[in-house]
Amino acid sequence: MTDPAKLEKRTLNLGFVPLLDAAPLIVAHELGFFRDAGLTVTLQREASWASLRDKLVFGLLDGAHILAPMVVASQMRMPGSRPLPKLTTALALGYNGNAITLSNTLAGELAIDLPARPGPVGRALHTAIERRRAAGQARLVFGTVYPFSMHTYLLRLFLKESGIDPEADVDIRVLPPQAMIDALRRGDIDGYCVGEPWNTGADRLDAGRIAVLGYDIWQNAPEKVLGVSEAFAREAPNSHRALVSAVLRACQWLDEPDRIASVAHWLSRPQYLDCSSDLLLTALQTPWIDGLPRWRKQYFHYAATFPWRSQAEWMLDQMLDAGQIQTLPGDRRALIERAYDTATWREVAQTLAIPSPTEDDKPENARDDRHPILGG
């Protein structure tokens, strides 16, 4: 653990968006892991990823629970955006956690039992789209949470693997997660890809049906990371390591058995997710019903906290594929290495006696991600 006397900055503001996978930050706070690391932390809830990013790049937040692709995207100048200070991460906040939910109307058109594997759902959806086109009906609209998000890329991956063109056959639109259920009910959208508790929420309110679990689209897909500005990582390296250490401990804690009740209780509080703890309990427990660790968030095992550079590479490919960027930067690998700081992760892991992966990359989007280099 970092010597508290060497911390460049002891008081940190950390941002989060009220979602189940903000748990590592909230748990680290509730269990005193930040205090143990010599840090005094204030957790600040943000209403949008845009606001969270602005505060992070301008130094109002020192670190944040942020969409992994936003950190990769920050390393590039997007068309029509101003050049901003760049972001980096030394800690991923786990695998999985998303699902695709469909409106009751669309779920009815598919005429299969849901949730199901992506194959059968995709085939039924493809047929429904063809039928709608023949009948001259409007294109289906799917919601996602942000352009640069795993939600967008998982949705596109699912559609493409089902023979559905994500640009020509459907519309993909950004909506705030908390607006998804109402939009589904009103018929503004026909489905969405979002994290929890917004899939379980739709199911419980009978506003829609969970159709495909993110885990079935890509086992152990990346999701959020602990993002910091490059300036913070450079100017306060010891504070950065202390921060990574505290949140890494929380991820480890979260993957132990018998944590669900405490997590649901803490996260439901007004200053965090401000929602029913029953809803969170359901969101946390549901996937265990069929006895498989599907859809459940994997916070720590299988090197889920390691900032795999292969994941950042995959995201960069998706940005290009989705037309979000027109060209790849000249030195692609240098960009990836700036965005995904594996060295800091390894240093911190060593102090916590957590074994390090031997490589910085692994095969991505394989059907079985239990690759030998991941260890257990």
């Binding site: 301008f58 130094g59 109002l60 997007m78 101003r82 639109r173 950004v174 607006a179 503004d188």
Partner: protein, 204 residues
């Protein structure tokens, strides 16, 4: 046609503008609407129960968007900016005082302007004008910067190709340069493209 976003700075400053207001505080939105309508601008207020900003932007074509800095809808606006025509619209934020550092830095960054809570309605038009003029100036400056960057990058490529030619063809700098220029003229392509070919040839 008024309200097109490709209007020049002078038109934008003088002419009638389409302004979209996204605010969950209806009273504040109405004050802004009154002030702007009195100045002959067309104003649309997006009410909290409308989720589809995309359609609103497509049909109304706002020149400026005014939004609460704390609104969850900001992510939708970024999506619209990215997918609609790849041209951002100036966005002006309502902000609380504790965001003042973000406000200051964003203004310095050139594109965003913020209206701090408790403003006088008559000041709104001035702020919008300033925001747009900053935005336009920033866009044109960035265009210049991009051009300069490209030219610098091209020159590096050309220099490298020249060096390779000198080495492999055993000629002097002028001869290498003239050979490339002649090839570019014959093929009617830019010099830098010939330079890339030369580098590919000798380094692959």
């Amino acid at each position: 046609m008024p309200g097109r976003r490709d209007s020049s700075l002078s038109q934008a400053q003088i002419g009638k503008m389409n302004i979209l207001v996204i605010d969950n505080q209806p009273e504040r939105a109405r004050v802004i609407e009154e002030a702007l309508t009195a100045l002959d601008h067309a104003v649309v207020i997006r009410t909290p129960d409308q989720t589809r900003i995309h359609q609103l932007v497509a049909s109304f074509q706002p020149d400026v968007v005014i939004v609460d800095a704390q609104s969850p809808d900001r992510d939708m606006l970024e999506d619209v900016a990215l997918t609609s025509d790849r041209n951002p619209r100036p966005i002006i934020f309502f902000a609380e005082d504790d965001d003042s550092e973000v406000i200051r830095q964003s203004i310095e960054a050139g594109v965003s302007a913020y209206i701090v809570d408790g403003l006088q309605p008559e000041r709104v038009n001035t702020i919008i004008k300033v925001a747009i003029s900053r935005f336009e100036a920033f866009q044109s400056l960035r265009g210049e910067l991009d051009k300069t960057r490209t030219e610098l990058a091209d020159r590096k490529v050309i220099d490298r190709a020249k060096g390779l030619l000198m080495k492999h063809r055993d000629c002097d700098e002028d001869a290498a340069f003239n050979a490339m220029r002649k090839m570019a003229m014959n093929k009617s392509v830019r010099l830098v493209e010939i330079a890339h070919d030369v580098i590919d040839l000798f380094e692959s």
